[in-house]
Symmetry: C2
Subunit: 267 residues, 2 copies
């Protein structure tokens, strides 16, 4: 098989996945279309757009912006033919900072809110393929569950009307592979980069590692260290903490799958 | 000498430099306060701020944003006690996209334009110290001149009212050291990262390498390859091409010196 065929096949895997979600399929996306970058999504009214882009600039490890879709549009340079209002498996709708509903198709809401500006934000799923290629097990992929995510006690640097704490994703890593995991993910700064914390969950204000704020309960085995990466759910925490009047996001772990290869974010 | 003393000394070198510029000293900053990050500056009226931050997000290799200073302020998290309206050696004032004047102190202009939003942008001077530490000569430092910069034929991705072409800086590198230069600078994506082009200037639309659009005439010796990096003067090209009614920038090569160590941008 030529390299071109391989690329074509990967492109198709991403498109097939998006088409499935457009058609109503709802599932976490970890492990889907391996090698293709996945993205977090947050759509905010235009009068929050400046504050959010500034919030992202000030908190680049948790909010690395991959694309901004201007008001009135739902297409993105990251995925040919995609529609951001329909191609994510599950959306969350926020009103006054509270989760109002989850929907599989948000296109009607986009039509009702033509001033929405959409931000696509790097996702740590991007570096899971190179981690696995280095022999590091990704537990939530092995178990077919959603990555566990936690709201920490670390305040993000505020911007205008937006403030909130950092959200992290957690992967249990065998102690002898932690250094490799740091080295590998550190080469992907546009998709959260190296861990923000290794070990003791208490230091991040996480009192019970078995009760994540988002995603599924983790399985941590003896000899494994919990390793924490900044997470693109951080914008949702800001929406809640800042009582944003209206917003649409992806549901945690249910990402937008792009046509961009993971390797393009490797430095 | 302890590490702490060394850091203290470097902090002081940056502060001494800023104080000198505040006092009226005018000089290019390449090689000044080695090891401390230098930044490009562009200040725009508030009604251009969103467009510019989006322009920067869409063109991160030429416009990596290190800090945004909101309207009405001249302080930055990047340098303790600094005043962005006075601590750069030389400022350029732009009206309707044309260079109107150069001044050593822009504080009066900031007071006349209280709606200015200021962007500090990564500068390739940041990776010159690690290049030199690897035995790669930085010619413009050796010759005590300003780095040569060129307006290319490469269009940036536009944003709102802003469009323009990429500006690049050029360093002549002996052929056997080009790979090292790529590898070293590639580890600094927040300050332009790896080169955008190596070799033939014509491919960038540069017809005469001996006549840079900004900075000083280069000295290229036999066996050296011109290597081009994206440059933080790109926003000034956008100001010109987009006929922005009013803007203040640093003068090319005359940068803002921060208190942040170069190494903090190494991934």
């Amino acid at each position: 098989m030529t390299l071109q065929n391989t690329l074509q096949q990967k492109m198709t895997a991403a498109q097939i996945a998006r088409n499935g979600y457009r058609g109503g399929k709802i599932t976490p996306t970890a492990g889907v279309a391996p090698g293709m970058t996945q993205a977090n999504m947050i759509a905010l009214p235009a009068d929050y757009a400046w504050d959010f882009l500034l919030y992202a600039q000030r908190n680049p490890q948790s909010c690395p912006v991959l694309d901004v879709i201007e008001a009135g549009r739902t297409d993105t340079v990251l995925a040919s033919g995609a529609d951001i209002s329909r191609d994510i498996p599950l959306y969350r709708v926020w009103r006054d900072g509270k989760l109002d509903q989850e929907v599989g198709d948000a296109s009607a809401l986009w039509q009702q809110h033509p001033d929405l500006v959409t931000f696509l934000i790097g996702c740590s799923f991007t570096f899971e393929t190179p981690l696995m290629e280095a022999g590091i097990e990704i537990r939530h992929i092995t178990t077919g569950s959603n990555v566990p995510m936690y709201l920490t006690n670390r305040a993000c640097r505020p911007a205008g009307k937006l403030q909130g704490n950092m959200v992290v994703s957690m992967r249990p890593i065998p102690a002898h592979q932690v250094a490799d995991a740091v080295a590998i993910t550190g080469r992907y700064p546009a998709v959260h980069g190296k861990p923000v914390h290794i070990g003791d969950p208490q230091a991040l204000g996480i009192t019970d590692i078995s009760r994540p704020d988002f995603g599924d309960i983790p399985q941590i085995r003896p000899g494994e260290i919990p390793v924490f990466w900044a997470c693109g759910v951080t914008p949702q925490a800001a929406v809640m903490a800042s009582k944003v009047p209206f917003a649409i996001s992806h549901a945690p772990g249910h990402m937008f799958i792009t046509d961009v290869a993971d390797s393009s974010f490797h430095v």
